[in-house]
Amino acid sequence: MILDVENLTGGYFMRPVLKDLSFTVNEGELVGLIGLNGAGKSTTIKHIIGLLQAQSGQILVGETSIKKDPINYKKKLAYIPETPVLYEELTLKEHLEMTIMAYDLDYETAFQKALSLLKIFRLDNKLDWFPANFSKGMKQKVMITCAFMTEAELFIIDEPFLGLDPLATRDLLNLIDQVKQRGAGVLMSTHVLSTAEKYCDRFVMIDQGSLKAKGTLAELRDLYGAKDASLADIYLGMTELAGEEHA
């Protein structure tokens, strides 16, 4: 297991947003974290990457807990935020160097890897530019490069497809496939259910901070009781039911 979330209860200050959430991500797996706006996907992610402290429960990444060994924990993670976050004063090359230094990577290998990624995204001729001045799509590609040049065991990607053109979407999915093959796990939160359905190995559905369902598409179909339902159908169905419960 790369990621093990056990009975996670947490949220912001006094308000517990997540209630007793448990799920896993195994090696070589792409797990889709699905939920409506406000369901708690971002909060879950913030707990996993260590921005928020869990009120109860625990999160383990590769058997390491953030409380006991934060440095090693963080070394195993790579995160791609929904909105690109960049250093205003660093050039593209310097962002790469910053990642290399922070994660203690071997300079030559990591830099070559980064360059090959930049070539795919057609950014290799912009090493001396400020990414802060790039378009949104280009900034996202910088984020993707910085994440995938590491040797992380767990990749956490927040809404990857928004803002990427179809070519870049395909390239990202290829990259995810590559890291899966070397044994890393990928947790991806998304609204784009059609793409998630095609590429994710398993799904974790959350609504209002608690787990609604988890499993492969086949398992979810069984749960929902419809052999040919699409992920969107299952999702809408489950949240409608939940809506009726709460009504």
């Binding site: 990457i49 260590g50 921005l51 934060p70 440095i71 090693n72 924990y73 963080k74 070394k75 993670l77 995160y79 935020p81 976050v85 960049l86 250093y87 205003e88 004063e89 660093l90 050039t91 310097e94 160097e97 910053m98 290399i100 230094m101 922070a102 994660y103 203690d104 300079y107 400020f130 802060a132």
Partner: protein
């Protein structure tokens, strides 16, 4: 729409006064009083000296230049916001009434400023140019009329694109000619000529149909620039959240920056943050140059020492916030690096900076005072001061 302007104006004034509180702090007010006092004295001395002499030939030109400059201040406050391009578009028909309101409000401040400056100029007109009261009145009236013309022209450019050259012609050259005519004693002609300009603007406005397209993007852009300039002024006195200085590449300084080094990512980051940012790099440079220059020209040993101590403190103090500059970037928290790494690397950067400061100030001190013994003492004192300040800084969170 009219109510909208009122609401916005109220919020705008509230914001201005909020910042004005910081601008008009005790020190600034005191220095302003001194400055105005000094200027006033110089002015009256100048008047007294030239009172009984014939009018110098440059005097009319000075008057024209000053008055032309005076009416350039006090822009049209449309108070339009970027979101208006989306939300107010359906109200395009009513934008004219909104603008009239805006112009009226802007006229108040503009005309008041013009009158104020004209009044200050009156002694000059009476004693140097030796005009009679009637002429002076004509000149003041011309100034007011031209200010109205200037603001109306601003309004005009919100509907019709005007090239910079033509705008300059109308906003600067035309008033200058008018003032020159007035300065040569033909006040009544100047006034008439100005009124002609206003008449033309009036005719244009009447002839402009209801369908005339308002240039939203340009208008919003102009207002944003105007507000930015205002915020930048306020930013000299306090932190204005809207002022975000963008980073400058400064490739020529790359040789000074640390290369990628495994053990010091924060040092790498902070060094670049310092050198390339407007708020830190430029500020550091300005303080350094200002302090250095002051010291080069000060001969008094004790005063120079005081200045050196003050500037060293200022620089150290102003660079402090650099440590927290990246706290809002999520990766600062995600990287497998510790807070200790950050503090240690930042301290290293500060040490190098302060060493450079001490060295430069000591050299400039010597250049000013030419006293080797005292320069050495100053150098040592500055070093001690830096050490104490850095120690305290690293103790802070």
């Amino acid at each position: 729409m009219l109510k909208l302007y009122q609401v916005r104006q109220r919020a705008y004034l509230k914001q201005i006064f909020k910042y004005l509180r910081y601008v008009l702090n005790d020190f600034f007010v005191l220095s302003l009083l001194f400055a105005f006092g000094g200027l006033g004295l110089a002015y009256s001395n100048y008047l007294k000296a030239l009172k009984n002499q014939p009018t110098p030939s440059y005097a009319p030109y000075i008057m024209a230049v000053i008055l032309t400059l005076v009416i350039q201040f006090g822009q049209l406050k449309t108070l339009l916001k970027p979101a208006d391009a989306v939300f107010l578009l359906p109200k395009e028909g009513e934008i004219r009434r909104y603008l009239t309101r805006a112009k009226r409000a802007s006229l108040v401040t503009g005309v008041l400023f013009t009158i104020g400056c004209s009044l200050v100029l009156v002694p000059f007109l009476l004693f140097i140019l030796k005009f009679d009261r009637l002429q002076v009145t004509f000149i003041c009236l011309t100034a007011i009329v031209l200010k109205y013309f200037w603001l109306s022209l601003e309004e005009f450019t919100l509907y019709f694109e005007m090239s910079k050259g033509i705008k300059f012609l109308f906003c600067v050259v035309y008033p200058f000619i008018n003032f020159l005519i007035a300065a040569l004693g033909l006040g009544v002609y100047a006034l008439t000529f100005s009124l002609v300009g206003c008449l033309l603007i009036f005719i244009w406005r009447q002839s402009m149909g209801e369908k005339q397209i308002f240039l939203w993007q340009q208008a919003i852009g102009k207002e944003s620039s105007r507000m930015m300039n205002l915020y930048r002024f306020f930013n000299l006195f306090c932190d204005v959240p809207y002022v975000v200085t963008s980073a400058k590449r400064r490739k020529y300084l790359d040789f000074m920056l640390p290369k990628a080094h495994k053990k010091r990512p924060y040092y790498y980051l902070f060094a670049r943050g310092l050198v390339r940012s407007g708020s830190f790099g430029s500020l550091f440079f300005r303080l350094l140059v200002l302090g250095g220059l002051l010291l080069c020209f000060l001969e008094n040993r004790y005063l120079a020492l005081l200045i050196a101590l003050i500037f060293t403190y200022l620089i150290c103090f102003q660079m402090g916030p650099l440590k927290d500059k990246y706290n809002e970037i999520v990766f600062t928290h995600l990287y497998p690096l510790t807070q200790t790494d950050k503090t240690r690397d930042f301290a290293k950067l500060m040490r190098i900076l302060m060493l450079a400061v001490v060295l430069l100030f000591t050299i400039c001190y010597f250049a000013g005072t030419r006293d080797v013994k005292y320069s050495l003492v100053t150098g040592i004192l500055l070093l001690l001061e830096s050490y104490a300040l850095l120690k305290r800084q690293s103790k802070e969170k």
